[in-house]
Symmetry: C2
Subunit: 422 residues, 2 copies
């Protein structure tokens, strides 16, 4: 094996999936095929990095071309993802040695890891294997997370689509509540994802274009939840507008830093009850303000909603997959393609390389000036930031009234090594 002969690539999906992560996969696979002198086959890990550890590799060259193309409109992780964080090289050298064994056995010289902040850390560690363990490898991280909390990149692929979903859903549900408020529901609560950062909650706010539009209140994890202040706000809103629509992050915390969703619900038998901050908030409104309410928890519906994906997000997701391969063939190790915003109106962006060391294990929360001074809504500055990210529609094809999503064949690569216990 010489460095000039083509080596195979490994691609894996990591952490919570999105509506558009498969588009990055498509970008990686299609772009790799444009460099046959540099890159041989693209092997995908079945269920993420676990696929590498267990030598459970998928040969994407065995996948019909139409299926690879269909990744462009199929949500979730087509190769399977996982929540599995590699420990440090010192703590668990065994896993890294195994990875090298698998890479060697399958002539893998490129490592593409499609994930968020934790995964960027894993990718960084892998990128250092080349020196640490004397195995030539080029590792590039492909950014993805609905949480939008990756640093350096202007936004995280996956976020724009969930942002569009929650903004559309809030606008629609808001119209429903307005219609009914005279005699029925007056308060509506929509719970969205975001354990530590309020980006998705902020996106709900895009639905409101003028005073009185839903949502009138947003609850961010960045702002401590104060029940009395909140209830006073709801009360005033219902008195003024006849109804109140609330977007709430799953991760809001009380003044003491405890998650509100863990405020201690128990069922009739005394069992601790699984959270859900929306029912908690709704119940508080009912009890304290005697207002009829409804609540929704979007959960996976939001991050899987390819049917209402943002076109901007779709394009960016492909672009980072493509750039990752282009960086790799240039020998750029330990980098991540990041989105750089050139202009907001009209929106212009480009992909630039970011050093992984600057990306890994960091969380980009909402800047304080993206949240209004009272803590209950987004500022114009935040709107300017968010708006382009939900721009454009990119509908999947339909058959029999349902989106025609692909299930890949995922043909396994023949194993060459002994089994490995996780």
């Amino acid at each position: 094996m010489t460095t000039s002969s083509p080596r195979n690539a490994f691609y894996a999906q990591s952490g919570g999936v999105t509506a558009v992560i498969n588009i990055s996969a498509q970008g990686v696979i299609e772009t790799a095929r444009k460099y046959p002198k540099k890159i041989g086959k693209v092997y995908a890990g079945r269920n993420g990095i676990i696929g590498a550890l267990t030598e459970d590799l998928i040969d994407t060259s065995k996948e019909p071309l139409a299926n690879i193309k269909a990744l462009g409109h199929t949500p979730a992780g087509a190769f399977g993802s996982c929540r599995y964080k590699l420990k440090s090289l010192d703590t668990n050298r065994r896993e890294y040695e195994r990875l090298i064994d698998v890479f060697k056995a399958h002539n893998i010289g490129y490592f593409f890891y499609n994930g968020g902040g934790d995964s960027a850390d894993t990718c960084l560690k892998i990128s250092q294997l080349s020196d640490a363990m004397g195995y030539p490898l080029t590792a590039v991280h492909v950014p993805k997370t609905v949480d939008n909390d990756l640093p350096i990149t202007d936004c995280s692929p996956g976020f724009g689509s969930v942002a569009k979903y929650v903004a559309v859903s809030m606008r629609e549900a808001g119209l429903d509540v307005v219609s009914m408020a005279r005699t029925s529901t007056k308060v509506f609560v929509l719970e969205v994802m975001g354990r530590h950062a309020g980006w998705i909650t902020a996106a709900c706010g895009l639905a409101a274009e003028k005073v009185g539009d839903a949502p009138q209140i947003l609850l961010f994890p960045e702002i401590a939840f104060e029940p009395q202040k909140f209830l006073a706000r709801v009360d005033a809103c219902v008195k003024k507008h006849g109804f109140c629509a609330i977007g709430v992050s799953e991760g809001i915390r009380n003044i003491d830093g405890k998650f509100v969703s863990e405020s201690g619900l128990v069922d009739a038998f005394g069992h601790a009850q699984l959270g859900g901050v929306a029912p908690f908030i709704a119940d508080m409104v009912k009890r304290e303000l005697k207002l009829k309410n409804h609540w929704a928890v979007a959960d996976y519906l939001q991050r899987a909603a390819r049917h209402i994906a943002s076109k901007t997000d779709v394009l960016q997701s492909y672009a980072v997959g493509k750039a990752a391969v282009e960086y790799a063939v240039k020998g750029m190790n330990g980098v991540m393609p990041a989105i750089k915003r050139i202009k907001t109106k009209p929106y212009q962006w480009e992909v630039i390389p970011a050093p992984l060391a600057d990306v890994a294990n960091q969380e980009k929360k909402m800047p304080r000036d993206f949240i209004t001074s009272d803590g209950f809504h987004i500022t114009q500055k935040c709107r300017n930031y968010l708006q382009p990210l939900i721009e454009g529609e990119a509908y999947p094809p339909y058959e029999n009234g349902l989106p025609r999503y692909v299930t890949l064949k995922n043909v396994a690569v023949k194993k060459k090594l002994a089994a490995f216990l996780l």
Copy 2:
């Protein structure tokens, strides 16, 4: 006033709104304008029948044409709806006399009521006023309910769109769960509407086209919920397919007939906790089977989701509005335009008049042979029934990444009468 001179029409939206009820309004208004010799203006009730009682009428002729057209892509109730059921003529003659006073004052000769089963009853009572109180009036009910529980009509306008929404959402969330199941979520629960009839839950089942597809389990209000049987099924499903996706109706009941959602959750302070059957089911799975789970409650998101409305539903919603006016100008009193299925493949339907007396106060539940014998899924017969109802897409226009929904001017008609206390 002679019977040949044009008389005005009253239109009102009643009960829970849908993604397409405004399309029926558009059908009524646009069709009425085609009969200028018979019908003068169309007055809409602000907040449904309450608008008639309080003489709070909206002059739809003052609405820009573009706004009336935009009703065709705007969800929820553009004139406001209400939950307000008229009592019988004997019990509350005062309200009927008031209605007649308002109708007389504004020369209203046509009454169009857009609602579900309860509203059909109200409309029937109004249709009888003509004889009972000597006031000439033609009353036609325009069917609408996401619950799909109206009799006679093959389906209820509004249902097809929520059916499409839940089927799409379940398919998408199911792909998410499959992706993550190896190391994370293994059970997903989606709660949908349907207090007494399982039609919406059944529609979730359309997402599954082959064995193993999500959802593998459906819980209908028509089938008593037996925890042990259910848990055994979940366990077997996870063992076989690696994950389990469940669609559950808000209205499932225990063997003793009690709503499962009212099974007695209390918060840390001992307050009774607002239901939500999905968190209850998910918690049961976690406790008894030790399986990681996620749950979603679609709530208003499902019935307001104009962005993913069914084209069939859109066409039928317009057709019943149009037919209602055509029946009225023919003098057909006390009827409802119903959808008649002519053929399932390819789908053909027509609108026929149904006597309101046969429609009012009846609930069409799922036939037993639409549910598999084990009670956990839908049969092929049910699929054949449901499939055409979600067929076709009818996207709203977008601006800045969001659907451009209309808010009507809703210009008030000048009041002529003294105030009326509800």
